[in-house]
Structures are given as C-alpha cells and as structure tokens.
Symmetry: D2
Subunit: 344 residues, 4 copies
C-alpha cells in the first residue's frame, strides 16, 4: 500500500498515519520525493483497508502496490506525452531523427558531421563527451573540451544537442549543454543517476539496458518521473541474445508493447542494435514501421578512423539515404494511424 | 576439401581418386546425393593441393571446405532466387502474403477463414493438418481429414496451400496437397526430414529454429538444396530470448543479414514471433520494412475458440488492416530499392 | 479433460462417451497409444463435470488437463525410477559414468579408447555411429560399419553401448546394438522419433534441447513414456545463451528442478556444455554436486585428430582424473542424502 | 599501445613522448590513475614500433593493447591473489562462507540471523543497508540506521561485515562499516562507482552483471584495480537466460574460465542464481565443486516476512545443512588440487 499525502500535509498528520499503521502491526517507511510525500507500507493491505486511512487528515490517496507504474502507466495519464526537445516534438506527428558520431573526437570531425547532418534537415545532433567504455584503457571521451565544442556546433548549425551523462558528478556540466540528456544502456539501473536526472530541467532519453525486461525499463523511467521530471523518452537499442550475426538483437516488438503500457514516447537506436553498417538502415526502417517516434543513428565522416563504434557508423551518403527511407516509412505508418482513428 | 565428380564419373575414376587420398594419408568419404557424387575429405587440404586431383579423370571440381554454403551462398549463385508458389513469385517484386488459421479444425472454420483471406486478395492459405505440439496430449491436428479439406478449399477459393510436413512418414501425403511445404521451427535440424524435403518437387518453406544461428539456418537450407530441390524459402519466426513481453523476439536484422549471405528469398512469421494479437501487425510491418519478401500470418474467425495459438491469431478485420498496411510499407521499400539500383 | 478408457473398453463404450461429449457441445479426439486408449476433450471441463463420465462403462479415469505430466510427474509415480542399463542402475545409489569418443572413426580409435575407459572401471561406452551435423558436408558418422564395431567392442571389453538414433528409418538398426539409445539435443522435439523410441524395448537417454525449457523437456519425455517405454533418462547438456566463454551454459539448477517434478533419473553431459577441454572436469564435478545420477563424457585418444568435437574431448589421463574426482564428490552427496533421510 | 611512464616521470618527459606520437600522426591521451601515469595511443602500433619509445626518458614500458587485462590478467601477476577479509583468506585454502539476510530490516531480525550464522562457524555476515531495487516504490533499505546496527552486530558476534555500496555519495559511509564492500550486479558497469571502489582501502566484492560476458566482468575489475585497490573478489550470481525454472542461470563454468584468465579469487552467490529456496543448496554445492573460493548465501529467520528476496532465503536449519554440505564438497576439491600439484 502506498499512502500519498497531500502537498501541504503536516508532520502531525504524517505521524497520525504512522501510528495507525504501527497499531495494526504494519511496518511503514515515509518517503519524500520532489513530487510528493508518501508512506510506503508494503504489507499493509493484509492488515487494514484503504478506507481506514483515506478519511484521515492530510491523506490524498491510498494506492494499492499491485499496480506497478504509478507515473509512467497509461492508466494514470490517459493522453500520450509529447516531449519538446528544442522545438522538436518527440511523440508528436513528426518522426524525430537524431544523427551524429558516437563520440566527439575533434573540432574538425564534429563540424564535418554536423554540417551534413544539418543539410539533411535533421535538427538534433548526437555525440558523446563522456563515453562509458568496457575497458578503462579505451578512449573515454574528451569530456569538458567536447562539451565546449558541442556548444559551439549548436550555435553554428542551429542543432539541438543530445549527449550522455555518465555519472552524478558531471551531470550538471552535461545538462548545461545538452538539449536532451541521454542515460546510457549500462546505466539504466544506476539509480543515483536516474534520481539526479529526475531533478533536471532537461528532457531525458532513457536507453533500455541490454538485458532489461520491459518492466525493469519502465521502473527505471519511474525513478526519473518520481523525482519530478516528466519529460522522459524511452529508447530501444537492441538486446543481448545468443544470435551472432549482429551486435545486439533489435527488439521491435517492445516498441508497441511499451506504448501499450506507458504514455511516454519511444525511440530506437538501430546503430547499437545492428553493430554492422549494412544492417543499420533495414533496422532503422523496421523500428519506424513498428511505431517508433524517433531514431538515434550514428554517422561519421570517416568511420574507419573513428575512436569508437566505427563499424556501425553510417557513411555520410548512407545517412542521407536512411533519412529519406525512414521518412517514407513513417508517412505510411502515420497515415495508417490517422485512418484507424477515423474508422474506430 | 570436397571433390565434386562429374555426372558420368565411373566407379573406377572414383576409386582412383580414393587411392590418391589414401596414399596421402587422408581419410575420405564418398557421398552421393541427387545432385552429385562427391568425395568428402575433411583434412585433405593439409596433405595435398587441389591441382593434384583436378586433372584426374571424372573430377569436376575441387572445392575448399572453408567456404561453408556450397549451394545457398551468394558467391555460388549470383542472381536472387525467385520461388514460384502456384503463380506467386516469392523473392520477386510483389510482397507475398500467406494467411490462415494455425490448424485445420473443421470444414466450417477452414472455409470461413479461407473466404475472407481470399477476399483481401491474398492468394495463399496456411493451415496445419499435422501439428507438432509440445505436449503429446495437446491437439495434434486432423491429419488426413484436414488434407482432404485443404484440397477442397483450394479448388473452391483458388488459393495455394501452405501446410506443414512434420515427419518423413507422412511427407508424401502432405506434399500431394501442398503448393508450399513448410518445415517447422522445431524440425529445422531434423536432417532426415530436410533430406526428404530435398527430394520433393514442391517448394519448401524452412522456418528458423527458435535458437538457431544464421549459420545453422543456412546449413539446414543446404541440406535441402544438396538433395536437388532448389526451391527453398527461408522464414524468420522469432527467437527465444529472456524478453518476456512477447512469445519470441522477432529478429528483424536477420532478414538483411541472411540476404547478404544467400540468394534464397526470406519471409517472416510475425504471429509466432509476437504471440500476442496486439503486437502482430507492428511486427508484420517491421519485417516488411526490414526487407522480407513475404509474410506468414495467422488469422482465425473465432480466435477465442481456436484449438491452438488463439491468442496470436488476427481477427478477420485485423487481417484486412494488416494486408493494407504491409502493402503500403512494401511499396516504399520497393521504390527505395529500385531507386538505389538506378543511383549506384 | 483426458478420458482414459480401460484396457478392454469396447468400441461401443468409446462411442457412448463421444456422444455424451458431443451432446455437451464439446469437441473430442479419440487417441490410441500403446499404453492406453483415451479421449482428448480440451475444453470439456467448461461444459461438464468428470462425474458425468466416470461412471460410464469402459471409462477408467477422467484426468483434468491442467496437470501437465501424466506419466513423468512425481504426483503420478511416487518412487524414483531406476533405469537398468546392462546392469548399471541409473538413478540408484551409484554414479553411472559413460565415456567415449564423439563418433566411431576407426576400429583402432574405438578399441584404444574403449580399453582405457574400461580400465577406469567405467562400464558404459558412448560413441556415435550416426552423427547429426550442422553442415551436410561434415562427417556424418560411419553408420552400419560403426555399429558392427560397437558390437565387437562390447564383447571384447564387456562394456554397455550408448549410441544415438538420429532418425526413424535407422532406429531399429541402432536399437539392436545399443544398450541405451540416445536421442540427441537437436531431436528433442522430433516427435516421430520420440514416438518410435517409446515403442523400443531399450532404455532411452533424452538430451535436453539447447533452448528447451524444463516443461518442454519433460513433455518430450512424456512422448516416449506415453508410447509404453518407461525407461527414460533425462540428460542436461548445456543451454544456448549469450555467454561466450563456453560452447553452452551448463544449467546445473535444472537437475534438482527436474527431480522435483519428475521421478525419472537425470544425467549430465559436461563435454557439450563446456566445449573446451579445460572446463569439462569442473563442469562434471558441478553436475554431480548438483545431484546428477550420471555423466556422459567425451574422451579421445588423439583429440587433435578427432573428426568431430576434438576440442572438448578429454585426454586419456584427464579422463581417469575426472572419474576419480566425480566419484569423490558423489560420495559426499550420497552421504548427505542418506543423512538427511535419517534426520527428517 | 599503452605507454606506461615511470613513477617519477617529469612533465617534460611526458611531453617529449607526446611529441613523438604527434609527429607520427598518432592521437594520444595522457591518463593518470593512482597506480601510474600512462599515455593511451590506440592506433600507435600501426605508425611506430615500441622500440622508438622505450628508450626515452621516463618511459617504463610500452604495452601492446591487444593484451586486454593489464592488472587482472594471469600473465601480469603469476601467483593467485588472496584477499584478507577480517582474517578470512579469500582465495586461500579455506572455503569462505558469507551468510545473512538480503537487507537489514530491524535490530531483532539482524541479531537473530547473526546469532545462528555465527553458531555455524561462519565468520562473515552479509546484509544490505542500501538496497538497489527495480521499483522506486520498493523497500530501499534502512540506510544509516542499518549501518549502525551492522557495527553493533559485528562487535557482538565477532563477525566481519559484507554490505553493498550503491552510489558514490554514500560510499564512504558504507566503507567505514564494511569489512568487504559489495558492488552489486546492476552496478557492474557503473564506472564512477568502480573508480571510487578503486580508491577505497577496503576489499571489494564485484558481482557479475546479469548479462555480462567474462570479458566485461574482468574489465570492470580492471577499473577497480587501475585506481590502486588490488583486493578484488569476483562473484558469479547467475545470468539472465530464457530458462524459466530458476530466477537466473548459475553459470558454473565461468568460475574455472575466470580463474584461467585472472589471478583474482572467485566466489558465487547461489541465492540470486536460484531464486527458489529448494535450488539454493544444490547450486551452492555445484559452485564449490566447480572451484569457487567462497559463497555468499541469503538466510532469514522468517523468510515469509522478509521485505525483499524472501523466496530465496534459506531457513536457519537449511543454512546449517548447507554449510556442512559445501564444506564436505570443498574438502574433496581441495584434496584433488593438492594431489594434482603433487602429480604434475
């Protein structure tokens, strides 16, 4: 049982509720988030009924714990959430494409890529300043220097910036530059980082962990939402399976499955899913056909010289083809959905 | 090393080759398939060179064993294979849709479904006469009775029949009725059944096993091809992973990955992949967007009363919507490909 | 609902039951196995109660279908099954070890391995005559010639023979030589083969499929049992996962989990699980510690020259060490179990 | 190429190396850890040879990057590492068992469990003060209050304390109380946390992530080691697979596989692997038989009332049995290893 207190509930009112729970032999944990003060009482429903608590002063609502997603669930918020990223409406009518290199490597590399990305009409640039890497000896990103370059590139090409925050310590620095802060797959259950993201004023792109169930992913979103940040975009990026022809297995069915449970927008990252340049475009098309609201795609001016993830980066010419193709697919899907709404 | 003998090679010529191999201390296994007489000598390349054998009488070619797919590979056959199923060209310009119930349950059920399938313009009907089931106590299909009904329904609605052969013993009976014989996922490495399929004159639909790598799948096709049947269609149907929101994980990237290695057409079965009615259409769209040449989709007039796989069968109205949507997606993909060919 | 008829039930009695079901609007399928005549009526329990049918002439029992394993389940047979393989009691007090090469390659190889296997006190020899191989071009076994050698080696060294049946067609030939007929992992759901095994008088070793759940594995056993052969031994051999340090992941917990659901003995094959010689012995020890009733282990006199699975074959000296180690572990486990029985 | 500088290398010497690299057209990244100053030059080996750099002032060694584990690898440190946890030698001759509840729930619960754990002769107590939980609404641990109780229980029962650090912010607080600081499975690639652990003076227990390859796990250890903390213990705790009879699949073969690559000790957590009380003891035995240096096992005085992970907690009587059994198995394994060393 979760007892949600009213905004202005007094300490005395909280204490009164705790006493009722204690008298019923029920353990209770007061919890305070930016959103609400609440009292978590895991086994309370076995000992007493909601109507014993609901009339009490300061109590807003008593929620049974069986319903898992308090803030992300479609039963809580009926309409679909649209997240505004520097004017782009993720979850709206347009397909939102984010393109760019895995990491910022140099001024020249970043500006070259940004130029051709912008020329395709894409409005958001991705590029990592801090890179979480499997080995401590691998290239870890240019950090602060990269963030400075990202600020500059944004102004030059009028591009929104999508970049990853890898730890609480440097979150603020990233957040100051980013228009959309990415939480990477490896950090999907880094709860301190999720709570920090929940206190940010920037929208959050939450990648699915490589072995995360849909439930775990939505609970990770719930960590962000429960701290007060309602602008969360989910991003499928391939899951770890035994299949060995691709780096990961793009799980297209999780896109409609997530949309059935949550009102949050869902994007896809075909680059990390495929891990091989020749599979990225078909995967991008498939994700859009399955209903993705947007794509996060890696492209590099010289993939062979990239310091990370070169084999999955699209060449400039491929990137342009990809944009054209997925827009074609998206138009069909959008028309289908409009048509369905008219019919039913 | 694989020594392919000429069609008319004499026993004496074979014997001569075997003696050379023996003299080199190399173990050799003569093999005879419908396609060719050959001598398999796994470790021969360490002991002697191809040019020792190639000039010998009756020897057609000496193939190194490192290249794995002798008949399915794109290096062997340059053009893409188009399989004709009762006039439908699988692997050609049109998207080929196969619709129908999981199993034949009754005359009424079969004819009701066939009628609305045919009305959507779909030309091929799927329905199992023999059903491989996890439990020996589950409904195993109506067998011979179902095959009779399938013959009748074909004539009534002018529909090609796609149905599964589950064992060597009943293969002939199935093959007489089917226009396309399905080898199911569980039988992907039932090598006796594959060899029997290789001696059939009917085209074969080879489903990917739920835990088969791309390599294993292509070798399974190679078993069919090596017996002489060149009309093999591959079919992705979802793989077994830990993800629990769907019955299986539709592996869209295997479609382009397979097409890069083989000239055979590739279809997809979104019904078994999704396992949940509400995910079937998005999965169908995704498969087509990824480049599938066709779809195998389950639909039932009364899914709640189906004897098998009811939860994943599309309702009649859903089926029509699905057909319209995937055709829309396919047009975009086909135009893209035509356009690409013009450009490059 | 499964209506089990008495052995001597008449066609008239069967007909009477079918009429009652039909009158209740329930679909029914008469089924005949070597064990029993039964009527499968999947949705009957919604329409009528068992006590409507149980008093009818010829009806032995009405079994609800919710309980899945009719013959393999611990609720059906209370005591644990002990399978006798040429005097070795699998499922009894002794740990039963089966050792030998992957395949019979030559008289010399087979006799060399058999000699040192027998010298360790191991009483059962494994070696494939027919080998199911991923590629049609790989060594497929020596077939009939191998079976002749196995007969000879049995008499020479007084060893029981464990060898695989890969298809219905050659089952009889294999069965004549084998003391224990193996159904391989790839054939775990080859239902025609399972039914054939169910009609054999030889005990069956049923390997778990590389992606089979415990439920699917037990249902595969049920296919064999339901045809009348009660001597089934289960064998865990590693499952397919994304972990890449071993060929498969040995699933030790499935051993006690299977024993909780079924009365059948459970063995383990650490060789196929590990796929690397250096991991085989630790895996063998782990399986025994988890409660395995026996082991199936590959060993070869010259692993580097083996025609299949050389990298996982134990060297002769390793094999002896393995036998000593697992016997030590097994003694501890057996004493624990005896002690437990005394205590509780 | 990794250029390790000498301890006393001057900025001028570093600069000189950077200039040589720059002149060769090679990108270089100076890196400073507690252990060493080094220069990472990913593509240097294509442009220049080690002997161009090795004679330079201040250069200690030039390491090719192909050898991945600089500090954890068996090629770097020949002898096996023994980690001392309050007098217990993990990686030494004795099996080290850690027992206790999932989380500290109350003074009474903690002291009750600690008493019977201590009575079995076990010297280390596990119990979480901070609990990383999938849902933000689940019990998150008693935090500071729990740490106070852990301090008290250590003094009362003379038990070493094993408890988890979940974030950088509270690391110091945890580290002050813990004798062994656990990094949980979800945080295996929380690199900020790993680096913080690397600057701790307490030994670190690094759990394998639920979908981590052996390589990723060892690189995570490398993050800790490279900051200066050499006391790292690896802990296998089950991996995520499609198998559904247990919570996770205990990967016993990773224990010997890890020991082949690294000199660090390896423990196992059968509780999280099994997730079901009845499978925990067989899994514990299997892990020890596979060569684990120790076990981390959950036990609770009243599992049915546990606030987390109750179903996998051993009852007090089971815990005692488990200790007796695994010690029996360990004795056999240890004798085997001693005997092997004598023989070879």
């Amino acid at each position: 049982m979760l007892i949600l207190m009213e905004r202005g509930a007094t300490p005395q009112q909280v204490q009164a509720v705790l006493e009722v729970l204690e008298a019923a032999g029920v353990r209770a944990f007061p919890q305070e988030t930016a959103m609400a003060l609440s009292i978590l009482a895991p086994h309370a429903s076995q000992a007493l009924k909601p109507d014993r608590l609901e009339p009490m002063g300061g109590v807003a609502k008593v929620v049974p714990i069986t319903s898992p997603y308090k803030l992300a669930g479609t039963d809580v918020v009926a309409s679909r959430t649209i997240v505004d990223v520097r004017g782009m409406k993720v979850g709206g009518e347009e397909l939102v494409i984010v393109g760019g290199p895995c990491g910022v490597e140099s001024r020249e590399q970043l500006f070259t890529v940004a130029r051709y990305v912008a020329e395709t009409g894409v409005k958001l640039l991705r590029a990592g300043a801090y890179k979480p890497r499997t080995s401590p000896y691998a290239f870890q990103g240019l950090g602060t220097e990269a963030l400075e370059l990202l600020k500059e590139v944004r102004d030059t090409f009028d591009l929104g910036i999508v970049t990853e925050a890898t730890e609480v310590e440097t979150f603020e620095e990233v957040e100051r530059v980013a228009d959309l802060v990415q939480i990477g797959a490896r950090n999907m259950q880094n709860f301190a980082l999720l709570r920090r993201a929940g206190r940010s004023e920037k929208p959050i792109l939450l990648k699915r962990g490589p072995a995360a169930t849909l439930e775990e992913w939505l609970f990770a979103a719930e960590y962000v939402l429960s701290e007060g940040n309602r602008n969360v975009i989910l991003c499928e990026r391939g899951i770890r399976t035994w299949a060995d022809h691709a780096r990961n297995t793009l799980d297209v069915s999780v896109i409609p499955a997530a949309k059935a449970l949550t009102h949050l927008p869902v994007m896809a990252d075909p680059s990390h899913a495929a891990g091989r340049r020749d599979l990225v475009i078909p995967c991008a098309r498939a994700a859009v056909a399955a209903g993705a609201d947007g794509l996060l795609v890696e492209t590099h001016c010289q993939p062979d010289r990239a310091l990370s993830d070169g084999p999955q980066a699209l060449l400039p010419s491929d990137f342009i083809h990809m944009v054209v193709q997925v827009r074609g697919i998206h138009e069909v899907v959008r028309d289908i959905e409009k048509h369905s709404r008219m019919l039913f």
